[in-house]
Subunit: 375 residues, 2 copies
DNA sequence: GTTAGTCCTGAATCTCTTA
DNA sequence: ATAAGAGATTCAGGACTAA
């Protein structure tokens, strides 16, 4: 399925880059992609910051073995410049309501996080991937490094319309909110891509389960997910399986070959399986007055709260009256309780066969009618 | 026990500052302390939360936010300058083989980590404090922020002689290495310091169990532990109990008073090296979605109750669909039976070799996979 | 005394649409 | 652009009260 394209051949046509792997430098490729063209980004950038032993700059050029403080600073600086460049280019490509995930370890994640903030990204959460089976610390001189950190950020502070499938996550998690600490095994066994020699095809292949949760949480079917450090193509494989589109950027042909074969073998899920649970937020809005117009509520109907402490009376204009005052069901619910906000749909009840029933039940009936009428 | 001293009166004599609280500005106080004089530092600096307006719980009660003046900074730049100044001053005071711990959240920890690296500190681990009882995300727009991050660093890369009580930690952890993810409740109940009015004495008091593990891991009895943001004095209280010395720096008299009384009441342990490191056991809670992520359950799988009266279909989002409706395994189990509640794990079955098998069997398999060496 | 129900609170960067 | 109105949203644990 995924074609491979040299970056130089890229045009603005979506068919030219969607569900493909762009071969070349990450920043150069990002700069050729159209502005505001992807819904989400998942990035697993290199963090070769190891300052002992062989030292490589992010561009893979070798650094003379020096271990003084100045060289450390120099190396961090190079890493920061690299990070800034790709995060900036990625931000241009991201849609205004898109979000970005970056995964890293303590070697690089602090620098990445600071740069994200510097460039105007707005951090939504940091998420910890707890490993069930991390590598032990062999020297016994530190804690067992048992997690990695992901940062989830929107394009900027004001972007409130980002995708977050809150209700689905909660329903899939024993009906409690999904937390920021996730537990997954590292990628081993059959899932781990091997080369012809049996050696692992990529040193840092991420588990598909991790990507699945990321994409199920923050994207919708049909969205485009960009991975600027495509590597073994986990992002592409999971995106395809879950009915999302992907774009990968990768420099090394060996990784491109492995990822291509891997993604080709993925069978996408059917549409019904991909539906995402949504909550009230996604329901069409109903004006209270429309219940009166539809005859579901008669003017003059008496309302009360669930414990019958306060009563109100429905007026023909869609407001309710409490004593001499009148206003929306929400306003008056707040007023009687002395609060500054109230959901009138769930606060006010009417009598149905002797049982206090919330107005929300009538709203459901109304939505049913509208759905039937539309069909 | 702890005397309080104005910074101006400080001399180089250790008796002049050990087991005392220095009242004044953090950097000024650090600059008056002797070079290379403390074995460890634990710092809980302001997080720079950048809160917007008020936040209310769904029941309309207002969240008591951390809106203190000491947490307000004009910009990331201002916060960086502040961070750099105190980390630099702290580094001078730290012994060559000393280590520093800094705790923070995603608001500030990335900036702190980057500055630590810039200044020559060498990160040994990042440690995640998982909270058993974090505050929920009330608006349902993000993941529940359920952890904070601590960075543990040596004074520089070449410092190999830092204290790490590997064997003691392992022995106290069911004979497996201590991991970087720690589980503790937040500080509440009797441990939480209250003012005369019953209000919390400090907005961000840390649990003693957290500090106990930090000090047991990285200090020895008789060591001096510095806390440049002393606050309610948790570091001092735990240090005293575990037979370590402390130095606190704090600006606000109210916090100094609370910490002084608190530390006075602490009784040191006879054998601090035998102190038990208490932590919560990791609870093996399994989310239904994790079965899907792990490939144990495929989207599209048909479920039914034991007597095959009702069927449901698994979706990729971790919910199950019955007809046009979808929800958690528990909600939909209750729905089809017309009940208020239902245990979806035991109610829903799938076909295994012709026999209806409850989802709970797969949960058992999952528990095996997710078993983590003791928390 | 026991148990069940209610209330309170914690480092929080917490909405969306229409006028 | 800003402002205002509609209306959607919570988990664990300790303290307290009522049965």
């Amino acid at each position: 399925m995924p074609a491979v394209r040299p970056v130089a051949d890229l045009t603005a046509s979506r068919t030219d880059w969607c569900d493909t792997i762009l071969k070349g430098d990450c920043v150069a490729a990002l700069e050729r992609l159209p502005e505001h063209s992807v819904d989400a980004i998942f990035a697993d950038p290199p963090y070769n910051l190891q300052l002992g032993g062989d030292l490589h700059r992010p561009d893979q050029s070798k650094v003379d073995a020096v271990d003084d403080a100045w060289d450390q600073f120099d190396s961090f600086q190079a890493y920061d410049a690299f990070t800034r460049a790709w995060l900036l280019a990625a931000r241009r490509v991201l849609k205004p309501n898109g979000t970005i995930w970056v995964i890293g370890s303590y070697h690089n994640i602090f620098r990445v996080g600071a740069k994200l903030q510097d460039l105007g990204y707005w951090i939504l959460n940091d998420v910890v991937w707890r490993k069930t089976n991390p590598m032990p610390n062999f020297r016994g001189r530190r804690f067992q490094n048992a997690h990695e950190t992901m940062i989830w950020a929107s394009r900027d502070q004001k972007a409130k319309g980002y995708t977050f499938n809150y209700e689905a996550l909660k329903a899939s998690n024993d009906d409690v909110q999904m937390r920021t600490d996730w537990l997954f095994p590292i990628c081993t066994g059959a899932e781990r891509l091997k080369g012809a020699d049996g050696a692992k095809a990529h040193p840092t292949q991420k588990p598909e389960a991790l990507l699945a949760r990321v994409l199920m949480a923050s994207t919708r079917p049909g969205d485009v997910v960009l991975d600027p450090f495509f590597g073994s193509g986990t992002t592409g494989a999971v995106a395809k399986r879950l009915g999302r589109h992907f774009v990968g950027i990768e420099r090394e042909q060996a990784y491109i070959d492995a990822a291509t074969a891997r993604i080709d073998a993925v069978e996408p899920l059917d549409n019904p399986e991909l539906a995402i649970l949504t909550g009230k937020r996604a329901e069409p809005r109903i004006a209270f007055v429309s219940l009166i117009e539809a005859g579901l509520v008669a003017p003059g109907l008496e309302l009360s709260d669930a414990k019958r402490r306060w009563t109100a009376r429905v007026r023909a204009d869609g407001t309710v009256a409490v004593g001499n005052e009148a206003g929306s069901i929400h306003k008056m619910g707040a007023r009687v309780q002395g609060l500054d906000a109230c959901n009138g749909w769930t606060f006010w009840h009417f009598d149905r066969k002797g049982a206090p029933t919330p107005l929300d039940a009538l709203r459901q009936d109304m939505r049913q009618r509208m759905a039937v009428a539309a069909a």
